[in-house]
């Protein structure tokens, strides 16, 4: 298992990955389990329909706010906030932990005494980040597939994959930013703090865009917009929006490689 930085990193996160996966499965089971009683309760659905339009826009996930359909229900309960949020938290944590974590613990000194180029170290750590977050997305997808089938939900497997894929790309964009900040500064707190603040700000920009004209004009800047804009749960993945998210992650990764190659190790604390 401990053959390379890539496998070593995955070995290190095996326990936290298991807990994350269990959490996702539990959360999906809860949401899906409640579905039959929501579906069969017209009063509850009507109550939701009386929400102000602004609130509906905030808590729906693309398209119409239709709490009475399985797609609308999953969109509101999972994809409008919780799924991308949890994936972002996992990705930002993993991104900050990678190089900055090793730098803070002081283990980079010994690791980089080995004949391993810094670029190679960065790329392997990035690959591990990708594998970890993508692995969580796969667990989430399988849980949703099984859960929706068990609860008799009428949702397309392909569109579920598209929505989770879109959330994965969003998480990788912010995870990549955290990784790059950690690679450049060696400080986990900076990486987590800035990336998280960015994610929250981007969420607000996208959520408030329909309500505030000024914000609406910069909505395209928010990665959250590109996550939701193609309405992946109903329409599948939109290549254009997905590419924007991929581009953010790739640019962050490239910046990480360049910054880490240049800087001094272990002098940031």
């Amino acid at each position: 298992m401990l053959r390379s930085v890539f496998t070593k990193t995955l070995y290190d996160v095996r326990r936290s990955f298991a807990w994350w996966a269990a959490g996702f499965v539990g959360y999906v089971a809860l949401i899906v389990g409640v579905w039959p009683s929501v579906r069969d309760n017209p009063a509850l659905i009507r109550l939701h329909e009386t929400y102000p339009e602004e609130l509906k826009a905030f808590i729906s996930f693309g398209g119409e706010f239709d709490f009475g359909t399985a797609t609308g229900y999953l969109g509101a309960e999972l994809f409008s906030l919780m799924v991308p949020l949890l994936l972002i938290v996992a990705a930002v944590g993993a991104g900050a932990r990678a190089l900055a974590g090793e730098d803070e613990r002081g283990t980079l000194d010994l690791l980089l005494a080995n004949p391993l180029s810094r670029n190679r170290l960065t790329l392997q750590a990035l690959a591990a980040l990708l594998a970890e977050v993508a692995g969580l997305a796969v667990v989430l997808y399988l849980a949703l597939l099984a859960g929706s089938a068990a609860a008799g939900m009428d949702v397309s497997a392909g569109n579920l994959a598209a929505a989770i894929g879109s959330a994965l790309l969003l998480a990788l964009a912010f995870g990549g930013i955290a990784f790059a900040l950690g690679a450049a500064t060696g400080h986990r707190a900076i990486a987590i703090g800035v990336a998280t603040a960015g994610a929250v700000a981007a969420y607000l920009v996208n959520g408030l865009a329909p309500l505030v004209d000024v914000i609406g004009s910069v909505r395209w800047l928010s990665p959250w917009y590109h996550y939701v804009a193609g309405d992946p749960l109903r329409e599948g993945l939109s290549a254009g929006h997905a590419l924007v998210l991929v581009a953010i992650a790739v640019v962050a990764a490239a910046a990480a490689v360049v910054a880490f190659e240049r800087r001094d190790i272990g002098v940031s604390s």
Partner: protein, 299 residues
């Protein structure tokens, strides 16, 4: 060709000097002792050699190759023990050794096993449960396990008990007997005196002196301790060539002697001497003298 060669090697942290204009060369097969008080720039120099930090100006070459440009190739041939050994707490010693061996594409772990046995280190317990001394041993094992041509060791004996220090000194001897080279930093004089062929002294980022241990010792004054029946009057030994009175404790007077002993012996003969003891100076005396000189020059 020198194994290590620094030319104008400088590292500045803002306005603070880490290392300033270092010039030195370490030859194959020698133990080069890098001596200085804590914070003098020893670790900075070493981390520059490993390409962990980059020089502000100047350069350092290992095996005639630039540590920055040929970083990976250079590190393949070096074993490194950091001054403050930080290990992967959740791994066992064996897992750590295997991990680093993989990164080095080193398949034969017999040397690592032999080193662990030699230092009485249990490789199968998690590193987080190890004492400071045992962590140091893990660091030593990974530094020596691929039989590198150059060992860069930052305060290698810190945390080791005396028995293990002895084992380490033996290991150093075997290493240089193979024609391999050791760059060793220490703030402990007797250690450097014991293991090093040459010594570089660094202070406040500046390399103040490079000399062989033999020359340094030859330059050092001998210490002569004489005990008397009575107490010779103050000033009785002033003005003698090469003789300096250091201190008095009752009937005992301590001298530092440079050059021939004759003037002191003649002077002592005027009093009733009941004991006479002399011993070769250790480097401590040399450096005390050296630092006094530096201080008075600065003053």
């Amino acid at each position: 060709m020198a194994v290590v060669e620094a030319r104008g090697l400088t590292k500045l942290y803002g306005r603070q000097v880490g290392a300033l204009d270092l010039e030195f060369a370490v030859e194959q097969g020698e133990v080069f002792g890098y001596l200085g008080p804590n914070g003098a720039g020893k670790t900075t120099t070493i981390r520059l050699m490993l390409d962990l930090i980059r020089p502000s100006s100047g350069r350092v070459e290992l095996f005639g190759r630039d540590t920055r440009r040929d970083s990976v190739e250079v590190r393949r041939r070096v074993g490194y023990l950091p001054g403050d050994v930080r290990l992967y707490e959740r791994l066992t010693g064996r897992q750590l050794v295997r991990y680093f061996a993989s990164l080095r594409t080193l398949h034969d772990l017999r040397e690592a096993e032999a080193l662990a046995k030699r230092f009485e280190l249990d490789l199968d317990v998690p590193i987080r449960t190890l004492s400071r001394g045992n962590r140091q041993k893990v660091g030593l094992v990974q530094a020596f396990m691929h039989r590198p041509e150059l060992l860069v060791l930052d305060e290698p004996t810190s945390g080791l008990d005396p028995l293990m220090q002895q084992e380490f000194y033996d290991l150093l001897r075997e290493t240089t007997a193979d024609g391999r080279t050791v760059f060793l930093s220490s703030h402990v004089l007797p250690e450097v005196q014991r293991v090093a062929d040459r010594v570089g002294v660094i202070r406040e980022g500046r390399l103040e002196l490079i000399e062989t241990v033999d020359v340094l010792r030859a330059r050092a004054p001998t210490r002569v301790e004489a005990s008397f029946v009575g107490v010779p009057p103050k000033g009785a030994f002033d003005g003698l060539a090469g003789v300096r009175e250091i201190e008095r404790h009752g009937h005992v007077v301590l001298f530092a002697l440079e050059g021939p002993a004759d003037p002191l012996v003649k002077a002592l003969a005027r009093y009733e001497v009941i004991g006479l003891d002399s011993h070769e100076a250790d480097l401590e005396d040399v450096f005390l003298a050296f630092y006094r000189e530096g201080a008075s020059r600065a003053a």
